[in-house]
Structures are given as structure tokens and as C-alpha cells.
Symmetry: C2
């Protein structure tokens, strides 16, 4: 009887481990598409909890939920990692309008940028000066700018194929617009939303005053792309028109929050750590489904899909739900600090923080030798239409783990629709397609499986496709 | 003065023609993303005209609109090609419910399948027998089926990566379900919608009675996936439950309609024809934005984008807006017949009929030698994340042009969301993303440019990437 049991165990074990890589990837994708949990999790995170800005009650609900769900997976360890986070609150809904030359008041959709100060209780009304960039500010100088609202209206560049490149070319207006305009004693700042579409959603996002003393700080808001076009058009007819906006946001004292971490201890190299992650916090306007609920639930499902596929990683594998990516990166920095303090070797860290759209592949931040190794796995992904394996950035939260020997990565989904929703009130559950989300989870899981199996020793790279 | 003019002309000409292929593709994509017309056209076709089933008033409006818009482009020839098409009308909105064991009436979302007969004026009420496939029908036999409503409930297979494969594995239930069930004297047929999502939209589509005499034909309808699940669940508790549905659709006599054709005459080989196309007709429930408004406007924009990019094709290039792809393929067949009659050599025919989503590449129906040639251009598309160049099918409308020497192709966009909308009332303009649509138009245009430049002579294939 004992022998029979042993035989059964051995048969089962060899069945699992004799699968070729092709077969394992097929198992993982099938599991995700027919038995995935990411979508159900996202439904809860988005529709029951909702937007979860750092320091908010919802963020704490998300922490508690994440911990419970990871515990339900039967991982080896689940814990919270304390981290102090900024707490910025939006206050009352913003209001804004401009007055045309003929005296008509045109209401416009705006939202305060994260980190901005409020206007006075009665709001701010001033003339508007439209600029495209900081150089133009310098050229105009204080005489032209002082006391006015600076309107940054440089659109995202539509002919860039990857929309993140277009974002990168514009976002300094949002992040540093107030800081730069304040140098010329502007009264406030309005920034065209980082959105390639013409619609009426204002898109928030982080901004900074840098070292600017409190008494020189000016309120800063995003305006919808449609309103930006309207305002620009109206300014052509009347450069003296007045713009009014009112916002009551506030930066409060830092509060305690947490990264949520779950771990499967490695069977052979428990002291080598792989992590998968996304960020649990989101902006407050929508429910943060694409940014970054998708990354959170995909990362959680990586560990579950490996278990469901009968795979026990040789290296320790953690899922990290980072807190405060949006306005501080305190969670990512804290995780890296603790890892350093505890002398943990982090060998691999893919992040999903580019939306829950159909995955195209990954961007890898690593050495050339490690990239060669990674490239040797690319052909395995062809049946899943995963084609993008390129060197480049990874993810904001995993970035602080970077060293000379590890591999950081970012999942790269189709980016065309990302900025339709990014940081706006329409970033909601209904904008996420179940299959697209599940394909992303399977793609992350497959890469973790391959990394765990082959590591980053270039000498072993030729094994990957032969097995 | 004459010499200066000549110099200017020569300089301009050489400027255009000395562009490398990389530069031309960049120009084409930039034109499409910053100066594209596809989205504006689709807005009109979808929102002003709307659903345009063959033989309907809207279909004729779409023909007139297409002709006018092509004429506005200043093409060399624009004409209508007459074709007789079937005219099926839906009649009054369908209604359906089932009655549970406890006597509760549960309303369900259904729609008549295209080509189906009506129920009687008072509707059809009968017991239900659920099956997965035709084999099961045979096994059950007439005793079990006679007088009942056959409920085909085989779902699309979720673990297939390309959703068209999942569609291919299910659609015989819709197309031939009534024909097969009628052999066993079923009273009617209800088919689970061809949809991978659980939602409440019934999806119509074509069905056929084959050679079945009129008096043996039975009504056939699609049921939403949510309703299919509910009905299946209820049947587990009560195999005797009754299902009611009523529909008043009707097949009328064929009517006259048209393919819309626009042509740029080739500068060097006017007797070699390349065509790009999509189908102008759509189902009636939505406005046919993805199926196939997208393909229509992308194909129209191919000719415009070439003109805007300063490219005059050496071969004659036609855009063909095919009529009646959905329920007859009369337009595609007619076009091929006329081409044969007129001894026109068609060398290249890409079709866009898989939705206006982010393009991944093309499927090619051609000889191995021609495919080698096509593959030599693939690297040029990498900056645009176009990665899929595979042998396979092309498009229904261009299919009849197939011969041993030409190249048929189908644009292959991301397929994950296609069947969320396909043939349902939610296939509407708001489900199309402007950039995704424009990337498809640019990708089609680029392939046409390369085909026109290099042709299909394998001996010239090595030139493509060197120029």
C-alpha cells in the first residue's frame, strides 16, 4: 500500500515536472482564462471599495481586503509592512468657468491636482495667459504673467505610437507647472489634462511645489481637453477674458499605512526573492480599476495561478501591493529599504502598472547578459501573441530595488486607451475587459515561472527552449 | 523660368521618392494619427445613418454617402456596381420568457436570427431541450425533440487566445441549428449568443434552412449569455419548464443594391488591380461601428492617406465598400464575377473586417513564395508594434478573388473585445477608440504602399528593406 502511494506521488510529481515549458504556459493561460480570479477581485476592489487615495479610509479598507484575500490563498506568509504616507484631500467638488468678451459665463470641467493648495474660499478670478511650455514662461517674463492664471495647453503628441511616450512629453506641465509659474508670480495654474482624446473628463495627478515657500505656492488644477480647446479658442477672441476657479483641497499630516505582502517560500533557494506587484492606492476620482487595480489583482493571481498549475517556485516569490505610488512612492521606497536592511537578495521584480489591457509583452530594466537570457524565452510566448520584449523602464514601485545583477520588468499592455481613463472619473470597472485582464495575469505568471526555472545565469540560457 | 520650374518639380519628385520605406511608413502613420478621416467618417456612418442591413433604407443611404465621400476625395473613378441582395426584416421587437417550476415568469433577452421565419402571431410556447451540439440531437432522436424548443448552449471556448477561433468552434449552432433541429421536428430553436462575456445582449447573425421545404422551417433566435445561463440553471430544477418567444421577422423578395467603388488609376501598371475593402452593410441591432463600419472607413482612408502622403500607386488601387457580407455575400461574389468578366488582374486584396481595435498585423492567403516576399516587409512595421504576419484566411468579401498568384489578406486587430459587440445592439460608435481605428488605417495603407512598390515577384523581395 505504501509503495502504491509512493508510486502515485512520484507519478504525479513527474507528471507536473515533465511538462515542457510550452505545456506549462498553456496550462497557465488556460487556468487564467477559465479559472482566473483577477476579475472577481477587481470587481470587489473597484465596486465595493472604490477609489483609494493614500491616507484615505478606502485605502485602509483595501489594505485589509488585500491581506484577507492573500491569507485565503494559503500562502506561506502574509504580512503588512508599515509605511507613513502623505494625506491629501480634495474637499468639496471644484468649480470653474470663464467669461467671454460678450459676457457669457462658460462652465468648464476641472479638478485640483494632487498636492495642490486650495484657492481662497471665494475662489480665484484672474486673466489667463496660455503657454505651451516653460521656455515660453521665461520669454514672457514676470510683467506678462504676474497676477494671472497660467494655462498650460501643450497637448499630448498624437503621432507617438506608445501613449506613455506622449505622456512623458507633457507631464512636466502638470507636475512642475505651478512651481515654474510661481517664479513669475502667477496667481494660479490650469493644465490641459493628460488625455489624447477630446472629452470632458479632467484628469488629476501629482504635482509638486519643490522647495517653494508656503506663501509663494499657487493653486493648480487640470482642465478637460474639451474645456482646454474652448478656453484656447475664447482667448483668441479676447485675451483679457477672466477665468474663475475654486477648490478646497488640503495637504494634511502624514498618516500610517501599509504595503501588503504575501509570500511563497522558495523550495530550493528561499533566500533569493522574486516579487510581482502593483500599487494598491489610486487617485480618488474614479475607482482606480486600470490604475492600478488591474496590476494589483493580476499580481495576486500570479501566485494563485502558479499554485493552481501545480508549480512550486524554487525561489521565494512575493506579491507586493504597494501603497502610495501615486503621490509619494513611499511604499516602493519602504519595501526597498527593508529589503536592504534585511539583506534580502531580490533577483526579479516585474510590475504591472500600465492598465489591464491586452498584454503585448514586457520592458526589461537589466544588464545585457540578463536580457539575452530573457530574450531566449520570447518564442514561448508567441502562441499568446506576446511579442514585445525590449529593454527599457520597469515600474515605479519596483524601481528602488534596482542593482547591477537583478532583472526589473514592466508588463506592457496595449497603451492606446490608457490615457482615456488615467487619473479620471471614468477609470472604472466597466472599462476593464475580463479576458484582457486575465491575459495579463497569465503573461506575468508565465514569465515568473520561466525566471524561476532558469534564473539569470546566461550559461543556462540555451536550455530554455530545448526543454 | 521653365528650367527653374523643372528643377522645382524634379526636386519635389525626388524628395518624395527618395524617402526610405521607413520614412514613408512614418509619414503614413503620422498622417493617420494627426490628420486621419476614418473616425469622422465612422461618426457619420454610425450616428447619422446607423445600422444598415442589406435591402434597408439605411443601406441605401450608406451607399449614397459612400459614393459622395469617395467623389470628394478626387479619385480617378467612382462608381456603383449593381447587385441584387436579400431583404430580411426583423419586424416588431421580439419578446421571450420562461416559466419556472414555481410558476414565476422570467423575461429573457432574445433576438431573431437573420433569415429566420417568424413565430405565429401568438408566439411559440413549448418545453425546452438543452443540447451542446448536433451529435447530441442525433442521440436524443425525434421522440425526445419533437414539438420542443431546442436550446443550443455550447459556450465559446475561453482558453483560445484568438476569439475568432472560439467563434469558429460555436457558430454552427447559430447557422445550422434550426436546419438540424427541424430534422427531428423541433418546434423552434434558441441559440446561446456568440459572446465570451456574460451580459444581457442577444447577438444576431445569419442562419440558414438549407434545402428545407418551407413547411418544415422553424423559428430561430439568439438568447443573451446571461439568459442562457439562467435558463440552463432553471432546466436543472425543472426539465418540463416552458419557454415562450415571439418574433415577426420576414424574408422579402430580393432588392437592388450596390457595391461602392473608388479608384486611383495606376501610374505604371494600370491593368494590375489592388483593392482594399470592408463591408458597408451591417446587422440592424447596433450601428455596425466595429462590424464593419471600421473596415469601411479604414479602407476609404487608405486611398486618402496615400494621396496625403504624396504617393501615387503604380498599380491601380480601388477601395470597395461591399454590400451584403452579413447575410449573403452577394457583393463580394458580384465584384469577383465582374472582375473575371472584365479580365481584370487582381494582384492584392486586403480586407478589414475584424473590428476597429489596435492592429496586430495581417493574415495572408497566398502562395509560399508570395508570403516570403510579404514577410520581408515585416521588420518595417516593428515601430508600430505590428508583429503578426501569418498565413491564414483573409476576408469574406475578397475571398472570391482568390487564385494561385494573388495575395489576399485580412487585417488582424486585437480580438479580445470583438465578440463583446459583434452583431449586438452595443456595437456602437462609442465602443471604437479613435487611435486604434487610425492605427488600423495606417497599417493597411503601409502594406498597400509596400505591395505596390515591390509587387509579388520573389526576385525583388530582397530590395524591400535595403531601400
Amino acid at each position: 500500500m505504501k509503495n502504491i502511494l509512493l508510486l502515485i506521488i512520484l507519478t504525479f510529481t513527474s507528471m507536473v515536472f515533465s511538462q515542457t515549458d510550452e505545456e506549462v504556459l498553456k496550462t497557465i493561460y488556460t487556468q487564467s482564462l477559465t479559472n482566473g480570479k483577477a476579475y472577481e477581485w477587481l470587481d470587489h476592489l473597484s465596486n465595493t471599495i472604490g477609489g483609494r487615495l493614500s491616507g484615505s479610509e478606502n485605502a485602509e479598507k483595501a489594505v485589509a481586503w488585500g491581506k484577507t484575500e492573500l491569507e485565503n490563498l494559503g500562502l506561506d506568509n502574509v504580512w503588512l509592512q508599515e509605511v507613513m504616507v502623505p494625506k491629501w484631500i480634495r474637499g468639496e467638488k471644484e468649480s470653474a468657468y470663464f467669461i467671454t468678451g460678450s459676457g457669457t459665463s462658460v462652465p468648464v470641467a476641472i479638478c485640483a491636482l494632487g498636492g495642490s493648495i486650495a484657492t481662497s474660499n471665494s475662489g480665484l478670478k484672474a486673466k489667463v495667459i496660455e503657454v505651451q511650455n516653460f521656455e515660453e514662461l521665461s520669454t514672457l517674463g514676470k510683467d506678462a504673467i504676474k497676477g494671472k492664471i497660467v494655462f498650460f495647453n501643450r497637448p499630448m503628441q498624437a503621432d507617438l505610437i506608445t501613449t506613455f511616450s506622449a505622456y512623458g512629453g507633457c507631464v512636466n506641465q502638470r507636475y512642475a507647472g505651478a512651481m515654474e509659474a510661481a517664479k513669475f508670480e502667477a496667481a494660479g495654474v490650469i493644465v490641459r489634462s493628460m488625455n489624447l482624446r477630446l472629452d470632458d473628463f479632467p484628469h488629476t495627478g501629482s504635482m509638486s511645489y519643490g522647495d517653494l515657500p508656503n506663501d509663494q505656492r499657487i493653486p493648480s488644477a487640470a482642465i478637460s481637453t474639451i474645456a482646454a480647446e474652448k478656453l484656447s479658442e475664447a482667448l483668441k477672441n479676447d485675451t483679457n477674458l477672466e477665468f474663475f476657479f475654486k477648490q478646497s483641497c488640503e495637504q494634511l499630516a502624514d498618516v500610517k499605512s501599509y504595503n501588503v505582502i504575501g509570500e511563497i517560500t522558495g523550495s530550493e533557494f528561499p533566500n533569493e526573492y522574486m516579487i510581482v506587484g502593483g500599487h494598491l492606492d489610486s487617485w480618488d476620482l474614479g475607482d482606480g480599476s486600470h490604475d492600478d487595480g488591474a496590476g494589483v489583482v493580476q499580481s495576486m493571481d500570479v501566485l494563485r495561478l502558479l499554485k493552481e498549475s501545480g508549480i512550486t517556485p524554487k525561489r521565494s516569490l512575493r506579491v507586493v501591493l504597494f501603497m502610495n505610488e501615486e503621490n509619494g512612492l513611499r511604499g516602493g521606497n519602504k519595501y526597498a529599504e527593508e529589503a536592504k536592511k534585511n539583506k534580502e537578495t531580490h533577483v526579479f521584480a516585474p510590475e504591472s502598472d500600465s492598465g489591464g489591457f491586452t498584454p503585448g509583452g514586457f520592458s526589461f530594466d537589466c544588464s545585457d547578459a540578463n536580457f539575452e537570457q530573457v530574450l531566449s524565452w520570447k518564442a514561448l510566448f508567441k502562441p499568446y501573441l506576446i511579442h514585445y520584449f525590449e529593454k527599457g523602464g520597469s515600474g515605479a514601485d519596483v524601481g528602488p530595488l534596482k542593482n547591477d545583477s537583478n532583472v526589473l520588468a514592466g508588463l506592457r499592455p496595449d497603451s492606446q486607451r490608457y490615457f482615456d481613463y488615467h487619473h479620471a472619473s471614468n477609470d472604472t470597472f466597466d472599462a476593464v475587459n475580463k479576458r484582457e485582464l486575465e491575459l495579463g495575469a497569465a503573461t506575468m505568471t508565465s514569465l515568473v515561472y520561466l525566471f524561476d526555472k532558469y534564473g539569470t545565469n546566461p550559461l543556462t540560457s540555451s536550455k530554455a527552449l530545448k526543454n
